[in-house]
Symmetry: C2
Subunit: 459 residues, 2 copies
Amino acid sequence: MNGGPARRRREQQQEQTRQAVQEARLQQAGDAERLRALLHGADLPLVVDELERMNARQRVTAFRMLPRDSSVRALQMLEPAVQAELVEALPDPQARDLVAGLEPDDRARLLEGLPEHLATRLMGTLTPQERAATEAVLSHAAETVGRWSTPRLVSVPQGATVAEALAAVRSDDGRAETVYVVPVVDEGQRVVGVVSLRRLLATEPGTPVSEVMREPISVYVSEDQEDAARAVCDHGALAVPVLDDDHRLVGMFTVDDAMRVLQIEEAEDEARAVGMERLSTPYLATPFLALARGRIVWLLVLIVAATLTVNVLDYFEDRLQQVVSLALFIPLLIGTGGNVGAQAASTMIRALAVDDVRPGDVLRVAGKELATGLTLGVTLAVVAYLPAELFTESRVALVISLSLVVVCALAATAGGLIPLVARRLGVDPAVVSAPLITTFVDATGLIVYFLIAGAVLGL
Amino acid sequence: MNGGPARRRREQQQEQTRQAVQEARLQQAGDAERLRALLHGADLPLVVDELERMNARQRVTAFRMLPRDSSVRALQMLEPAVQAELVEALPDPQARDLVAGLEPDDRARLLEGLPEHLATRLMGTLTPQERAATEAVLSHAAETVGRWSTPRLVSVPQGATVAEALAAVRSDDGRAETVYVVPVVDEGQRVVGVVSLRRLLATEPGTPVSEVMREPISVYVSEDQEDAARAVCDHGALAVPVLDDDHRLVGMFTVDDAMRVLQIEEAEDEARAVGMERLSTPYLATPFLALARGRIVWLLVLIVAATLTVNVLDYFEDRLQQVVSLALFIPLLIGTGGNVGAQAASTMIRALAVDDVRPGDVLRVAGKELATGLTLGVTLAVVAYLPAELFTESRVALVISLSLVVVCALAATAGGLIPLVARRLGVDPAVVSAPLITTFVDATGLIVYFLIAGAVLGL
């Protein structure tokens, strides 16, 4: 519909970048200058896209053609697993140069993915301050805000004037991650407020910062990265101060890092929703055995769980033998139950993630999902009755319709409650993934079906 | 594990906010002052969380207790459907005041959700400039960047000096959405570069801006909101210039709006992945009939599609009659196929969204997914053979193992390719949702199963 010219322009850019990167890889003789120029002008995220579509060897060749400044920024944009692979393959001096150019938090995430001997060697080439900053980041647990914040920041004491604060911003050598949100601290380095650079510029220079600062929103260094990123997003903040457990300022958590965290968490949740591991490398660069490895664990769990359904059917085999047409509707019935359960589970996982629902709401959720499931079940039962009658006799059609009502009610309620229970037990609700709920619904749904069949058909 | 004190602190804040908002709702006599103070100090996103957990009537009562400044910001943070409900329920003067306090883009999204007579009345109370700005936003198609950008911005001509640029920033009355990224324009209002406020502050005042500006990343007003938000995210930009189709600057698209867009799109994709509509109101505030309405459409489509499986089983009913134990493994077999298909589809939908895979990669994807599916199938077949033999005879166990291999290969390939084909046809891959793939895999899987059973068992 709309967006035509914009999309065409983007596709054109993509194509140009693709060609430039491919030519870089092929190192067409004698034309290195032109290539550098091409890559220099290209949109960096597009270059990164191209790099991520290559295999490891091609990627190294193309990467080495990037101008130095672009190569540091491109490295920063690559997935950590790809970064590590690349740095391992580069000659030592270039690797050292790149690693030194990174922010301490980016560097820490990269070094963690490298083989220990290489990480230690690269760490040894840093200046003592850089090494200390990197070690500080690595001292925080994985998946905490500490891994995304650095002590490179501009802060001002609470007695300062606006002019002094602006001078502090001006004297920053470009190393601070952000200067747009300036924390105001007391003598004990405790944050008493924050002031935006915009506010500072709009205020009389002689004004004390304590008069223009506002209530700080802050996060703790040991806080879960996703919680902190959602806080940044909910507040529409450009950066928030990061505090240690004694409430002292130790860093800033910026909006671009918050966006990256949310993207990682989103990819993880999506993967978990279908019982997979998140891919740590781009799809086309991932060998099929690695794809299979990320998928097999839950499939094995689920196939073991599915033997429950074999047990149930084995138990009711005599009823099946008497009325084989009951078997015709098994996939339809459990498929519908599975879909209803997955919808409820997905709704609840989302509601928990954005704090619309909390574990204490269990009764409200149970009531809502039971009512929803019954409504869905009755609707589907009415719709399914006539077609079912075409394939079989009317008493079997009645069994199917009644089973649909019960199975839908059960599936919606279970799908809604299981993530809540998981959260209460401290388990990530996304891990109790839709397929697990589906398998549970399959087994209980079959029991319901054969019990109803037994009652209606007198088996 | 970690994050203990931080999480406890957050929970404490939540509890305090909950109490304050609940008290506000109950309007405990005579204590309005204390309540206002409580709400004034509360973290606004927490207040919004509480408001979203209430029913419509409670929400209006509590909302009216908020200080004026907080109420505008709280309104902005609420879901559009909740905003509309609230504004409808408020007395006219307060509604007018709130609507006037919003940014033009927020206001446009709100007005769109209101009944036409109310929207027109509120629009009539705006100043002519505000009305024009709002109408400009509404003139762009839904889901485009135009809906998220406003003409309130600070830009500088390319001939300006750094001092002049800083003066332009200082003279902004706080109405521009951002001053941290300043576009530099030529006489035709075309963007020739952007310069960050940080860079401006760090540069000699007499320097021409054209010397410190950098290559602009820009988006077009008619561009899809998700594409533009991903561009902001990929570049780690705080804001990007928005251009009209003649490449003229018409607004800025800021990172906080980009984050909101990505959250909306994420919620939409998650809902579509299980065949639902995205909830436009928070879960607890959504009546069960609305929940059911958002879920029923795809369930109906899927139950109709599932009659395919009834047809297949009906066709093979004589084989079932001869070896009833074949029926025992139907749920296990199609369940596994469904899981494998859902994994492949989810992987591909994600890879397409982040541009790791493009429609042209169809052969590489087919090869990878076929290999992955075969690997998964062989592994599962080996694991399932012995348990299957316990329930039935060894020839039936062989049928099951062989079927698992074929079904997994088929499911992975179909799951990987269907989203690619959808994208090529211009359909959102997430709409071709996992349940649809599952239903397809169910039917073909059953055919495979009975054909293999026929060959091995000589039926």
